[in-house]
């Protein structure tokens, strides 16, 4: 494999490739690209109960989302295992590294710190808040806002939608609170 592929890809290569998803999905399927609807379809498929939000033909509306999400699992394997090395370190800035070190992060290898992201951490306070509550809020908020990073920050902004800009501002308000207030409280 060429070394340039094995190395991390710069933002000016990755960003435009991600951006091309938007016209491709419009052209191929006439659809707006977004990922978080997948979560709604998973609920509709498994536990719709009598909740109106989940009472629809999830296969007709969501098969393409589910196919794409399944593909993402395979892509994660290819990009994270085959086109990467096990000792890869994400080259974050020195400032971030020292900020995170002061919060008690010691392992900087891989995509996520093993100090927190490990199965045996799930039942600790940091594990519960960061993984379980964090995941819950991502799912709750994405459906409440009717979109996540792909649907609002990329597809929506690319269509110059004011509603998406407002949602993205919300993403940052929440993210700043988590990064600067909640994480130091939990990890510090």
């Amino acid at each position: 494999m060429p070394e340039a592929v094995m190395q991390p890809w710069p933002w000016y290569v990755a960003g435009p490739l991600i951006g091309l998803m938007v016209p491709f999905v419009y052209w191929y399927g006439g659809k707006k690209w977004g990922v978080s609807s997948t979560l709604q379809h998973l609920c509709a498929a498994t536990a719709p109960g009598s909740i109106e939000y989940f009472r629809y033909d999830w296969w007709k509306k969501g098969a393409w989302h589910l196919a794409m999400a399944s593909g993402m699992v395979l892509g994660g394997l290819i990009g994270g295992r085959i086109l990467a090395r096990p000792d890869d370190v994400v080259a974050i800035s020195g400032a971030t590294r020292s900020d995170l070190a002061s919060l008690g992060i010691t392992d900087f290898t891989g995509m996520v710190p093993s100090d927190v992201f490990a199965l045996q951490q799930i039942l600790t306070v940091p594990g519960l808040v960061i993984i379980v509550l964090g995941g819950f809020l991502v799912g709750f908020g994405a459906r409440y806002a009717n979109g996540c990073t792909s649907g609002h920050a990329i597809s929506g902004l690319a269509n110059l939608q004011a509603s998406s800009l407002v949602a993205v501002i919300g993403f940052f308000v929440g993210g700043l609170i988590s990064a600067h207030v909640l994480l130091p409280l939990i990890l510090g």
């Binding site: 994270g80 995941g135 819950f136 994405a142």
Partner: protein, 154 residues
């Protein structure tokens, strides 16, 4: 050629291939992994404004997406099957309460778990079983939203 044969030659709207979407998902997740946007470290860096990386990725993605949409609208590009493309109308996309409130809740989660929905799937594939827990929590979050939806401000 009989009518039945003609129908076979020209695929109808809605007969798009799931294999294409699967492949697209795989390709984009490779990009997610190799550009490290799935990394908790990168998300923390972004919310600390300590590097251009995430802003570069999202900014250039939006620029390419916006240019593409503008060109598609300008030239009246149709779908591969000849259908009209239904771009969301800007007037119908006026900001409402649920955008800011839901967005802020999403951001709180993004800053903690460091991954939005697409990267959650990619991280599971990269061999992090702990991310299955995060994904199940996200599905539970979506379910809770569905349950509470009638009583939430929108």
């Amino acid at each position: 050629m009989t009518t039945a044969e003609m129908e076979q030659v020209e695929p109808k709207e809605g007969s798009e291939s799931l294999a294409v979407y699967f492949t697209l998902g795989a390709l984009i997740a490779v990009v997610f992994m190799k550009s490290e946007v799935v990394s908790w470290f990168r998300i923390q860096e972004m919310f600390r404004f300590q590097a251009i990386h995430m802003y570069g990725v999202i900014g250039s993605a939006v620029a390419v997406g916006a240019l593409s949409i503008a060109l598609m609208k300008r030239f009246g590009v149709r779908t591969i099957r000849g259908g009209e493309i239904d771009f969301p109308a800007r007037a119908a996309a006026r900001p409402q309460k649920h955008h800011i409130v839901g967005g802020t809740i999403f951001g709180l989660g993004w800053g903690l778990v460091g991954a939005c929905p697409g990267p959650l799937f990619a991280l599971i594939g990269s061999g992090l079983p702990v991310m299955v827990v995060a994904l199940l929590s996200a599905v539970a979050g979506a379910w809770a939203y569905g349950l509470l939806r009638p009583s939430l401000p929108h």
